[in-house]
């Protein structure tokens, strides 16, 4: 019984994967993502290569001069992937929503949904199979992006990442898969919940716009230090200690600001990915358990979103009309 169930889910997953691979629009969006990612990493790597050469020249001169205490390199090759993660955050989410939209609209347009529902397949199996197939597509996409990014760092930046860095990178890309799978569920959920599939797509894109672009933007611009060019505290002649002291009077304000940011799923993905890829200097010296501790709130939020949306997807598939209604 369980093996039959597994067989049905895997069959649907294979169907989902093959259909997605044949979609022209997905190929176009994927091309935009890979080209933009490669472009961003190559650009950052080119600058990195020149800074690395400067450091190596300094290091060689210091060694030749008999200097015993040489400053460690301030460079972090993983941080070159910042642009790659930002593109996954923005374009990757659009791709995932499109994938979700196509899952539902494809069956409606082809009039195959009634046929599918006439077979001994439950809505839960349909949802699980579709999600599994979509995760397969997303993993392929993320692996392709990761390969392009890592090769760009090595070939253009002349600095290959080590095993420890590769482990952290895998974690960041693993969360990228969860992030995109969640947006896939959003796209499929809104499309399955609307009679006109394109309207569902528009609703999902509206939510994407708000969660990925607007909420982080609001949180960022409300930051007290971002109020004037060059920083408000610097303009007032205050250092870090003065800033911390003054911000103690803004506890409620900061709570509201961070809550706005916390409402954005994209911001949590960004925090986790940036912590794993050494984008923030303060995280570079931390061990993996310490890094997890630092971003624990983001991990919890990611898990909440990643659990809630597949449940909603299952619910919407169960209530989806088996006969196509209205315009698709």
């Amino acid at each position: 019984m369980a093996s039959d169930r597994r067989h049905r889910v895997l069959t649907i997953a294979r169907h989902e994967y093959r259909a997605a691979a044949r979609s022209r629009i997905l190929v176009v969006l994927l091309a935009i993502l890979v080209i933009a990612t490669a472009g961003s990493v190559i650009v950052a790597a080119a600058e990195y290569a020149s800074r690395l050469a400067d450091y190596q020249a300094y290091h060689a001169a210091a060694v030749a001069g008999g200097v015993t205490q040489i400053a460690p390199s301030p460079l972090a090759p993983l941080s070159l992937l910042r642009g790659a993660f930002e593109y996954i955050e923005i374009i990757g989410a659009v791709i995932a929503i499109t994938l979700g939209y196509l899952t539902v609209s494809r069956e409606r347009v082809n009039r195959t949904l009634p046929l599918l529902m006439s077979r001994p397949v439950t809505s839960g199996e349909l949802a699980a199979g579709s999600l599994l197939g979509a995760v397969g597509v997303i993993v392929t996409l993320v692996v392709a992006t990761m390969a392009v990014a890592v090769l760009s760092v090595g070939l253009v930046g002349h600095d290959w990442i080590n095993v420890g860095q590769a482990g952290k990178l895998m974690l960041a890309f693993g969360v990228a898969v969860v992030y995109m799978a969640t947006f896939y569920c959003l796209g499929a959920f809104t499309t399955a919940s609307t009679k006109v599939a394109t309207n569902g797509l528009m609703v999902a894109l509206g939510i994407w716009l708000f969660v990925v672009l607007v909420l982080p933007q609001i949180g960022d611009t409300l930051d007290a230090d971002n109020q004037i060019p060059g920083g408000l505290f610097a303009a007032l002649g205050l250092g870090h200690d003065g800033e911390v002291q003054i911000l103690t009077h803004f506890t409620a304000y900061e709570t509201v600001r961070t809550s706005i940011e916390a409402a954005s799923f994209a911001k949590h993905f960004e925090r986790f990915a940036f912590a794993m890829t050494d984008v923030k200097e303060r995280f570079r010296s931390l061990s993996l358990p310490d890094l997890f501790f630092q971003v624990r709130a983001s991990i919890v939020w990611i898990l909440i979103y990643a659990t809630a949306l597949p449940i909603a997807l299952n619910h919407s598939f169960r209530n989806q009309p088996s006969i196509p209604q209205g315009e698709t």
């Binding site: 629009i25 930002e86 659009v94 499109t98 347009v109 394109t198 002649g237 009077h249 803004f250 698709t328």
Partner: protein, 305 residues
């Protein structure tokens, strides 16, 4: 003929729930830009007060008033971000709906079974988009004026209103570009979803990919009205910077910074030059939409997705 198509399209847009939802979102975000400006104003006042106390306790001189560093219209600096994000997507949707509705309902087939000029039809659709966007921009401007009055406790002077008018006129032109992209994508793709997503692909490239290529602006930098300065010491950027004048999103932001006085001043002719590529692209897209409508096969409308 043009008037009939225009008025029918405007009526149709008014009845579109998805369009009205997107419009409400844009107006709400315009109001939010005002609230954020007000919040920013209050934060600066409170931080300044606390800084004065802190520095006085340490026996240090009073710092300069930060409002001298913050121009009056910087209150609305978030609009420079919301127009290319929310406004452009709203405009894409408007352009998309203008043509796909006639396709999916079969209206296109019906219209062209009569003696109707295709050029007149295209011009009518473009005029409807232009009028709808004018209304949206006027509403946004009214909301901005109210925000300025509430925060500054006075009616904005004529010079400020003039700058605001100039900013929203340029924003209208920017939005027209995306409405035309939405129309062109709808005419080039048979399927509605493909049309919408390819128009969005164009938006992603214009808003995020090109600025990264020409100025090394990371995607999230595009979300902040105060952008990090970009170094041009690298040979790569010295070359790609040559394409910066045609990076529409960057030129729009730079010109907005000048009009709202939130950026370091530059000669007026330089700001005017920034708008030229935008005008050229809009002109080219108008011509493209007219040509595409003339060549489009409306006999299949009502059969597609």
């Amino acid at each position: 003929m043009i008037t009939t198509v225009t008025s029918q399209q405007l009526l149709s847009l008014r009845r579109q729930r998805v369009f009205l939802a997107a419009l409400s979102m844009f107006v709400a975000m315009t109001a939010a830009a005002g609230v954020l400006g007000w919040s920013s104003h209050n934060t600066i006042v409170r931080v300044y007060d606390e800084a004065v106390k802190l520095l006085a306790a340490d026996g240090q001189p009073t710092p300069p008033n930060p409002f001298l560093l913050k121009p009056e219209l910087s209150l609305l600096s978030n609009m420079v971000v919301y127009v290319p994000l929310l406004g452009a997507l709203l405009a894409l949707l408007l352009g998309h709906l203008s043509l796909t509705d006639d396709e999916s309902t079969g209206l296109g087939r019906l219209i062209f079974s009569r003696r109707v000029s295709r050029t007149g039809y295209a011009v009518g659709k473009i005029a409807a988009a232009a009028i709808a966007l004018s209304v949206i921009v006027l509403v946004a401007m009214a909301v901005s004026v109210v925000s300025l009055m509430v925060v500054n406790q006075r009616i904005p002077p004529i010079s400020v209103l003039g700058r605001l008018g100039l900013f929203y006129s340029m924003s209208w032109l920017y939005l027209m570009l995306f409405a035309l992209v939405g129309m062109a994508a709808a005419l080039l793709n048979r399927r509605r979803s493909l049309a919408l997503l390819s128009a969005m692909g164009a938006w992603l490239v214009i808003t995020f990919a090109i600025p990264q290529f020409t100025s090394a602006l990371r995607p999230t930098s595009s979300l902040n009205p105060i952008a990090d300065p970009v170094g041009s010491s690298q040979r790569f950027f010295q070359i790609t910077a040559l394409a910066r004048p045609i990076s529409i999103a960057e030129q729009y932001k730079a010109a907005s910074g000048q009009i709202l006085s939130t950026a370091a001043p530059e000669p007026g002719w330089q700001t005017a030059l920034r708008v030229v590529p935008l005008m050229v692209f809009v002109g080219l897209l108008v011509a493209a939409v007219v040509i595409l409508v003339r060549r489009h096969d409306f006999s299949r409308s009502g059969n597609g997705e």
